[in-house]
Homo-oligomer: 397 residues x 2
Amino acid sequence: MKQVYGYITAPRGFRAAGVSCGIKREGKDLALIVCETDAAAAGTFTTNRFCAAPVSLSRERLRSGRARAVIVNSGCANSCTGEEGIRDAERVIRSAARILKLDESGICIASTGRIGSRLPVELIEEGLEPLAAGLSEEGGRDAALAILTTDSCVKEAVARINIGGAEVTIGGMAKGAGMVYPNMATMLAFITTDAAVSSDCLQRILLESVERSFNCISVDGDRSTNDSVIALASGLAGNSVIESIGSKEARIFEKALNGVTGTLAEQIVRDGEGASKFIEIIVRGAADRTEARRLAFAVANSPLFKAAIYGEDPNWGRIVSAIGAAGVALDPDRVEVKLQGECVFKGGAACGADRDTLAELLRRYDVAVSVGLDRGAGEARVLTCDLTPQYVDLNSS
Amino acid sequence: MKQVYGYITAPRGFRAAGVSCGIKREGKDLALIVCETDAAAAGTFTTNRFCAAPVSLSRERLRSGRARAVIVNSGCANSCTGEEGIRDAERVIRSAARILKLDESGICIASTGRIGSRLPVELIEEGLEPLAAGLSEEGGRDAALAILTTDSCVKEAVARINIGGAEVTIGGMAKGAGMVYPNMATMLAFITTDAAVSSDCLQRILLESVERSFNCISVDGDRSTNDSVIALASGLAGNSVIESIGSKEARIFEKALNGVTGTLAEQIVRDGEGASKFIEIIVRGAADRTEARRLAFAVANSPLFKAAIYGEDPNWGRIVSAIGAAGVALDPDRVEVKLQGECVFKGGAACGADRDTLAELLRRYDVAVSVGLDRGAGEARVLTCDLTPQYVDLNSS
């Protein structure tokens, strides 16, 4: 697998565009991805009980396993908008279908922005013509820009692999931000590939890949009313169709997809609202993966721990407290905690790490916490960032 | 019930003192409460797997249902200190027993402060003499001062009731702070009363009272390594002994105790680190109390919601998102959300509340959120405060 420079339009068969239609006060706010074939399609969405109108519609459309296009707007979530919200999103899809000369059923939709406001359908409809006119194989960057909200930069990744002699490309773009806690900031990600892959296989590989990437940053990404991950596969790479999960080809594809989603997830965390540090929490030796995740998130979601990291304060007691409060029947005497590679807690007590050394190590931008439990083989890796006064400022207005 | 001015020394039979022994750089850091009778005693402690040495010792001592004194220090949590931590705490108790001429088994201990440092036993032993010499019926305020850490003011409450002709007094003091989230800041509370009450009865009433008060502020108070609530009853009020939970006398006592713990809990939230707003979240119509609490805490622990309240931004979508992500099988169409008494969400959609009106109402110091679920009779009331840049500053060094 090779990570290469590029956009979601890097795989064969995709065009994209991004324009400003006036939903946001400034910047691009309307994106379109179109596949020239009837793409194998897969998706995974928020588990929030109040899922937004675009989530309901895209989830429904992806049942067929096929799609041709995705339209995305930023600046308005079209969430908590009831039946009117559904009708608004359907109208946008209908207009896009007419302009793109595609069947409505093949168009997915995603939205991000403020909750509780109606979608400005007329602004979007006015934007659709220039959007469609702007579709190109170079349009991935504009699309990546148009889906951002408080993000400070685009999130893109492209991987290239060889599957049975065929060159296969996977592209991805995402938006995130607001990653400091169990949070409701919307996470959107779109994956394109020219791999020939069955939609069943794509769906299963995507779910596991999202579980390891987007669902391992701060707290479960799938919690805002709008979180959506949609993948389209054009099948133009010329590889023999990937149809079986266990096959060698599927594993090569899976690994490359994990590279793309993992890189996007890391970019989201590194661009966390107001973040000044990137924190990686690794838990090993838990009873199973679920338990390992629970403990890793307990640390990742501790505001006291995250504020200490912002202050470069080696207050590792906050890590121990967070683990102890996570509701896991661990044995304190068998727990080992490391901060920046230095052992700070072992055998039920502090292990005398030098505070000044730790403080010096915490000056780095990248912070590593590792927790060993000696209970089993469960592992998890969770990424988060520090809690800063800037985070509060950004989210208070 | 009458809330009256006073300290934990208000009930008959109690003396207290607070001194500075040098654990903290400045301010009092060592407190003592002594009962002149062999008090009926009860307690409830953290559920954190890494409970601190003083918690283990006090929990053990309270099994007998009797105690004579509580010694409390701030500035060092004596947590993550292993066997040495236990021995340090035992030595402090032994020294206190000698000076007070009491049996060791009747002395409880509590600590709060930084995790992972050994208790400065010699400093404490030097402080014990002046501490014991300073014990008085007016010493409650000094004791309340000595248990504080980052708190900006003492937390005290006293209630007076009549039980069968006898005047009964209940006093309380607490320390809190750091209440912004699922947090590990230690909560300590000490309750004194001159009621004659069996220790069994006291324990059961205390547990329920703590459940409704300290365990309903931000997230479960019982999560730091040191959280402790200890109650002593001198029995000097002359009432006939309260021995049965359902009795009229028990109910009068219970209500007064709830008044004291509720007031202390509210004082803790109002003094939350860096807090600028006091937020009350009431959930009604949940399937049961557990579910109601879960939803109320989901809102109380949403950093996005709390940052919005700090900014006086009527972004109620963050309340809806938090509820929807709480893992409760609620029906979005039957949920009603009110902010400052104004309906903002009903029947699955925004109900058109005026943003300017809401913004104006949010200028108040007190913020009220109410959520109706129409699923059952479960109710919960959770208190929290806003998330401010000051919180992060305070916790980063």
